[in-house]
Each structure stands twice: as structure tokens, then as C-alpha cells.
Subunit: 480 residues, 2 copies
């Protein structure tokens, strides 16, 4: 068994040695995804896809509570449509894929595969909106999008990825802005309560905002190696799209007016966030609420009389209320199985062997702390329910502690550089609002502005970079 | 009110006059979908998409009961991969769209947007399968696909459509064939029990089968105007893909062997089937189980004291167990609302006015028969539950009757032509198995072979076309 374990662990790169390699090892070994013959695109395998299904289910129910209606728009967008909003096309043109041949004929106008669908939704909204009575329209689609990235990494930056994109139109700017923030709160809910990852909310700087937006709000997370990950964004467009797309309505006073728009999205990148934030040297570590398998039963000495029967009946019982798997494989040792399920991040492992059966007990092992607990068989369900809740909370707390530890304050560039080199993480520093300083900080530290947080603190009166009067406190970080 | 009604009905083409026009009228007026700037592609609107979500929910739970795991594969398939199976590429090459530019550069190898994903799944299976222990793999994806159709019609034949494609690999041909048929039964379940449309099950002829399949099984439905609609297919591939894609495994005897494969799919075409099979001159008619709104509450004389309050409290009560909508619009007459909800196919309409409140009753109107029923307010929930079940059953029965009426037998070509010209519908006729006869029948009657039904009847000894010895009884029909 010892040998097995060592061989096993060797297969995953040490997390301190090479975080990037550790990450891709987990993706492949835990069977979340695999590389394909289409460069830059992954195949999401059942274990990875089920995480996405759990995210979808949770987020979609929150959307529906908020009055969101799902729709589906074409994957192909004519070039002329994409070109209608100047900033938008400038931002996306370099990274789109173009269909130029259809049904063996050269197309008159090339079509891009949607990198995002503001232009398509806007052109439909212009057909659907005529009166204030048609507003608001609050729609969303779950779909695939494509961006021709040069460097890709499974889940985090894939040419094709899955996401939801919400698109809404409103009578007033106030209503639109409120909706933008409401959706940002749904994202906070999803990431904190489902994925057990604390988020930082704020708005993006002019430089980092979405192409075509008036304002981009973001939820940012921090990975185990101290890098920032943009995990969801919500954009307020004002009339930036309604004007070129002619989305006008007759208002309550009978006058024609351009409407106000928003869009917002989260993607399969969140699976990458889960891996990078919770994982450790034993592999993946999944928060119970999103884990495809919450409890795995490993029978010990399965060849002995009564063991498999008891394990199977336990499975049947637990399967009513939890997502359970029983590992009946006869070609692997118990030790291998233990390591395997730890690597796959299953929150609770149950061992059940002849002695346990005799004593009427089960041994539960937590993936997060590796603590073992012997419980009475008749209490199994209650114990598991409570343990899953504890694990979920503990995983969140652990990340939250790390987030605090890795958030530092810098009043000068020297402090900034020292902190980020020693600690990675978030750096809080004052900023004058000038993009030249933002560019210079990036050049000297490798850190991008993450956001101007909603809860701003006052650190000093001066911009960390140029020393002129500061306008904002910004959180900075190196990013994935 | 009368005037309103007449104007309203005028907006929809008469179903007997022009069925095709009636169909697209319904799609647009009931707000199921809309045309877009991308030729041949539609936008599925909330009311249409919710029908698809209900189909997905039902089918996906049946898939999961059958052990199916969901995955996601790239939307782009390299040309070399698509070309690996000869029949497959011959079938699909004429109708694919090609990406030739990515990130502003000409691609070395062009990529097609998946018309279906056998080639992509096969190449992944060849990586994932090495031993009999890896089998079976039973996977599915819910996704978009694209086929460059020349003539399109919303839902029925759209360039882009949404579907699920199941792909499986097995140790034995027997297991694979059983899975193929099992999935065909899931489709029958979905279409008969959820959509209230009776199906004909059978296998396709050599000419009509899927490009690359050994055998294609189908579920066929019949529209109100007597045309056949292929509504779901399940394909047994044998080793047709596992050989060119090298999907080999070590069998239980330690020998290398090629595996056996299947694929199966249903699509948003089913929404078209619902419209075409159930609709009438008043518009859409939705089976309760799949209807986005099962019950609509229309307050009468809403300005009178207590009416809106009572209607709202009824809404709150019913909304716990049914999908309910309350029509509080103040800019439409009651008559208009009645017509509007009939046109949108809502199974039950509830009228609630001052007199009803006084008498403690509600008036329920069925969309299928237009019958009205007065029920006591306190019994509303029970009455609605029972009425929805009756409507679901009645809609199925009605279609089943029509199916029987429109299925005729032909022993000669004269009979065949007479029957199909008078009656459209299904024609049962014997066939020698020769593709020349199949082609000739199509030429002379416009009818394609639908399938060789599982329940074959013996009509005569001779082929309806050439008079030679008959091998099969085939069901024929003109198709959408």
C-alpha cells in the first residue's frame, strides 16, 4: 500500500514547485477535462461537467427568482453587426474566428462565431422594444462562445468556453444600474455560498472595463498561489449600444427615448477557480455543495462475508439525500482508492469493513482536514449532513483567512514591489486615476488593477505611482 | 370586444388555407421565436425556450436514470478529423460551415462547426478506452449544431439548432444495439408522455439511414396536415467509427478488439412538432406538461373593488403547484386577452370577476375543447390538477385518432397515389428492399420511406412498386 501511495503522489507535480503544472495535472488526473485535436479547446469530461451543471442549476434558479428569462440567439454574427459599436469591435476583432464558407460556397459576408452577444441581442431588442410597456426585458442565454486566445489553459482561458450571458434593456439608467449590481450580487452568492470562495466586489478602471461599457463591475477571487482571477463581470452600457442599434421606445410621456442596457456573465472559468483556490498536494478539494460526489463509500476487505451487502445497503440509504458513489473496483488496493478519491476531491470518504460492521460503526474521513471520525451506523445520515455543512464552511473560512493574509497595503512603489514579490496577493494602493500610472504599475510590478472596491479605504492622499493627488483606492494583483 | 376578436383572428393565416404560413404566423405571434440578421438562424424567445427547457429537464432525468453522463466537446472540428469516416463525410460535407480565419490569421487547417460530433467523440474515445474495464462509456452533450440548409423553417429546419447528442462505446455489439433501442424508447417516452404526440417506431431503410451508421432507428410523428416528421433518431454504428478512429480495447480474454458504438439525438425540432401536431385556427395548443404557462388568470372588471386582490391571492396559491400567469394588463380588453392566451396555447384559462367572487366560484376554460366549467373556489387546486391531466390525455388521444384515420394501406401504386393525394398521412405498403423502387415511389408520390416499423404487418406478398417478392412492410409519407 505504501508503494502504491508513493507512486500515486508522484504523478501530481508538487504544488509549491510548479503551480501551473500542478493545475494541469489535476485537470487531467481527476478527469475534469482533456485536450482535444482542436487546438486551444478542451473536452469537458463527466466529472468536470457535473460541477458545471451544479453551478448552472444554482445560478439559474437565482436568475429566475430575479425575473430572468432564458433565450437562445444565433452562434454566428454577421460582420456588419459586430462592427456597429466602435469600442466593442476594437476590443473583440483581434480574437474572433470567422466563418467564410458555408455549404461549399464562399459567403458574401463573413460571419464570426460569437465572442459575446451584445450585438446580436441589441439588434433583436431594437425589433422588440417600441413602448415603455415592453420594458424591462431581462434575458439570458447559457451557451458556448469563442475567443481566439494565443495562450490557453484548461477552464481558465480556453478558446471555446461555456458561460451564461445576461442581456437586459430598461426604461431608465437607474433601473439598469440597479440590475447590473443585483446580478453582481448573484455572482457573489454563487461563488461564496456554492463554491466556498470569498470574493472582492468593485468596479473596473477605465482601462480594464469591457469594450463598449460605461462601467464594468467585477467579482475577483484569489488563487492559492496568490494570483487574482476575474471570476464574473456585470456591465452597465448606458446608451452605448442602444444608440447605434436604434433601441428606442416611447416613454410614459409619449416621447421617443433611447433605452438603457446591461450585460453580465460567469463561465466555466469558475471550475478553474475551484481547482486553483481549494486544491492541495493531494489533489482537488471540492466544496460539498458543488461536488459531483459528496460521499464515497470504500468497502474494506470486500471479499469477506457481508461487507459488500452492507456497503451496498448503506449506498442505497445515503443515495436518497446525498450524491454518493461506491467504489467496488476489484483491481485496485484500498490504499490506491483512498488516494484516488482524495485526489478527486470528494468531501467525505466512508470506510466500511468487517470490524466496523461488527461494531455497528463507520469511519468518516474529511477531505479538507483529513480528520477521521467514527460514527454509529444509525447516525450516519445526520453525521454526514452536519459534516458536509462543516466542510463547506471550513473551506470558505480557510480561503478567507488566506485572502486576509495575502492582502497588503502599499503607500510607495517600493512597498508595492516588495509586497508583491514576497507575497503575491492583493495590494491595496491609492491611485490618481491616470492610465499612465496604471500602465507604469503594470510594467514595474506585473500587477493589473483588479478593481476599485465598493468598500474603499483611505490609505494616503497620494497616488502610489506619481505622488499626485489620489482619487481612488485600487486593489492590484498579478492575474491569471 | 367582437371587433377585437375578428381583427385578432385575421392576423393568423387560416390553417386549412395555408398550413406553412399558419405555422410561421404562430411561431412569430405566439413569440416562440423570431428571425435574425443571420440568415437561416432564429432567435428562440423566452416562451419558446421554456418549452425547450421543459423537454431538456424531462429527457435529461430519463438519460440520467439510464446511466448517461453529460460532457462537452469542442464546437470546431478539424477537417482531417471530419474526413476519417468515408460515408460520414460524404453525407455531411455539403452542409457544413467552415472557419478559415482565427485571430486575424488564415488557418493552416480549416475547422468546421459541428454538424454532429461522431468524429470528435470518437477521437476522444480512442484516448479513453484501453481495457474492457473502461467500457461502457455512455455520454451525452446538450449543445448547438450547424447545418447549412438551403431552405429553412423555424424550429423544423434551421441552420443552427439546439439538440442533445448521445455517444456511447461498448464491449459487445449486443450491448450497443440494446442501448440504441433503449434510447429510442426514451424518445418515445418524451414525445408521447410529455408532448402528447403518438410516435411510430422502426428502422430506417439503407437509403434513409444516418451517414456512417449500420442501422438507424427512428421515432416518426405525423403533423396535423398529414405530413411525416422525423422526430428523433438512434444509430447503431457497429465498428464503422471504431476502426478508422482506432478505438480498441483489451477484452476479458486479453485480446485486442475494436469497440462498438452508438449515437442518438433529439432537437428543438420537437418544438416544431408540438406546434404542427396540436395547433389549430385559434393558434398554439400546448400539452400541460410542457407548457411554460399551464394556467392563466384573467381578472374581469379588474377596476372593481376586491377583484385584483382576489386574483392575486389566487395566483399566489396556485403558483405553488402550477406554472401560473396573471394577466393584469390594463391596456387590453378582456376579449383580446382571451384570444391572446388561446393563441399562445395556455391549457387552462381562469376567469375571475365580481360575480364569481360573490358566488365563491371560478370559471375554467380548457384550451383543447374550449369547454367551460364553473368550480368552487376552495376546490380550485384539485380541479385544475385533474383538468390538466385530462387535457394532456385528451390531446394525445385526439392525435392518436388522427394518426389512425390518416394511416392507410396500399397494395398497388394506384392505391398509393390515390391515398396520399386524398389523405396525405402514412401509407403502409410492401417493399422488395430495392433502392430503385424506393426512388421511384418518391418520384411518383413525393413520399419518402419513414421506416420499417417494429410491428410489421403482412399486407401482400408483392412489392407495391415492382411487383417482385416483398421483403418488408414500410410506412411511407411526405415529409417536412
Amino acid at each position: 500500500m505504501m508503494e502504491n501511495k508513493n507512486n500515486f503522489v508522484k504523478e501530481i507535480t508538487n504544488i509549491e514547485e510548479d503551480f501551473a503544472k500542478w493545475y494541469t495535472d489535476i485537470v487531467i488526473k481527476a478527469e475534469l477535462a482533456d485536450y482535444t485535436d482542436t487546438k486551444g479547446c478542451i473536452a469537458i469530461k463527466p466529472y468536470g461537467y457535473e460541477i458545471w451543471e451544479n453551478i448552472q442549476k444554482y445560478a439559474d434558479s437565482k436568475f429566475k427568482e430575479a425575473g430572468v428569462k432564458n433565450v437562445y440567439m444565433p452562434v454566428l454574427i454577421p460582420e456588419s453587426l459586430l462592427n456597429k459599436e466602435k469600442d466593442h469591435i476594437e476590443g473583440f476583432a483581434p480574437e474572433v474566428a470567422w466563418v467564410t464558407i458555408g455549404g461549399q460556397e464562399e459567403l458574401e459576408e463573413k460571419l464570426c462565431i460569437r465572442p459575446t452577444s451584445e450585438t446580436m441581442f441589441s439588434t433583436m431588442f431594437s425589433k422588440w422594444v417600441t413602448s415603455w410597456r415592453d420594458l424591462p426585458i431581462i434575458t439570458n442565454q447559457w451557451c458556448n462562445v469563442l475567443r481566439w486566445e494565443k495562450e490557453t489553459r484548461p477552464f481558465l482561458r480556453s478558446r471555446e468556453f461555456l458561460w451564461q450571458e445576461g442581456h437586459t434593456v430598461h426604461e431608465t439608467s437607474k433601473e439598469a444600474e440597479e440590475l447590473t449590481l443585483k446580478m453582481l450580487d448573484v455572482y457573489k452568492d454563487v461563488i461564496e455560498n456554492l463554491l466556498a470562495i470569498p470574493v472582492l466586489q468593485g468596479n473596473k478602471t477605465e482601462k480594464e472595463k469591457f469594450s463598449g461599457a460605461v462601467n464594468t463591475y467585477t467579482v475577483e477571487t484569489l488563487t492559492r498561489d496568490g494570483r487574482a482571477l476575474q471570476s464574473g463581470t456585470s456591465h452597465y452600457f448606458g446608451q452605448n449600444f442602444t444608440k447605434p442599434f436604434d433601441i428606442k421606445f416611447q416613454n410614459r410621456e409619449g416621447k421617443e427615448e433611447y433605452a438603457y442596457q446591461t450585460s453580465w456573465g460567469i463561465s466555466t472559468r469558475l471550475i478553474g477557480a475551484v481547482i486553483m483556490t481549494h486544491g492541495d498536494n493531494r489533489g482537488l478539494k471540492l466544496p460539498p455543495k458543488v461536488a459531483p460526489i459528496q460521499v464515497v463509500i470504500v468497502p474494506i476487505a470486500g471479499h469477506k462475508e457481508g461487507v459488500l451487502e452492507k456497503a451496498n445497503s448503506l449506498f442505497t440509504e445515503l443515495n436518497k439525500n446525498f450524491r454518493v458513489h461506491i467504489d467496488n473496483r476489484d483491481n485496485y488496493s484500498t490504499g490506491y482508492k483512498f488516494n484516488d478519491w482524495e485526489m478527486r476531491g470528494v468531501p467525505i470518504r466512508i470506510e466500511i469493513g468487517p470490524r466496523d460492521i461488527e461494531n455497528g460503526v463507520l469511519t468518516l474521513t474529511r477531505r479538507d482536514t483529513l480528520e477521521k471520525k467514527e460514527v454509529k451506523m444509525e447516525n450516519a445520515e445526520k453525521e454526514i449532513e452536519s459534516l458536509l455543512a462543516q466542510i463547506q464552511q471550513n473551506m470558505f473560512n480557510e480561503c478567507n483567512e488566506r485572502l486576509k493574509e495575502r492582502t497588503t497595503v502599499a503607500a510607495t512603489m517600493d512597498e508595492f514591489i516588495k509586497n508583491i514579490n514576497e507575497n503575491q496577493g492583493y495590494i491595496k494602493a491609492m491611485w490618481c486615476g491616470d492610465v499612465a500610472c496604471e500602465d507604469k504599475i503594470k510594467e514595474e510590478t506585473g500587477a493589473h488593477s483588479r478593481c476599485i472596491p465598493f468598500n474603499e479605504e483611505h490609505i494616503s492622499d497620494k497616488c502610489v505611482c506619481c505622488g499626485k493627488e489620489a482619487k481612488y483606492m485600487v486593489v492590484w494583483g498579478r492575474q491569471y
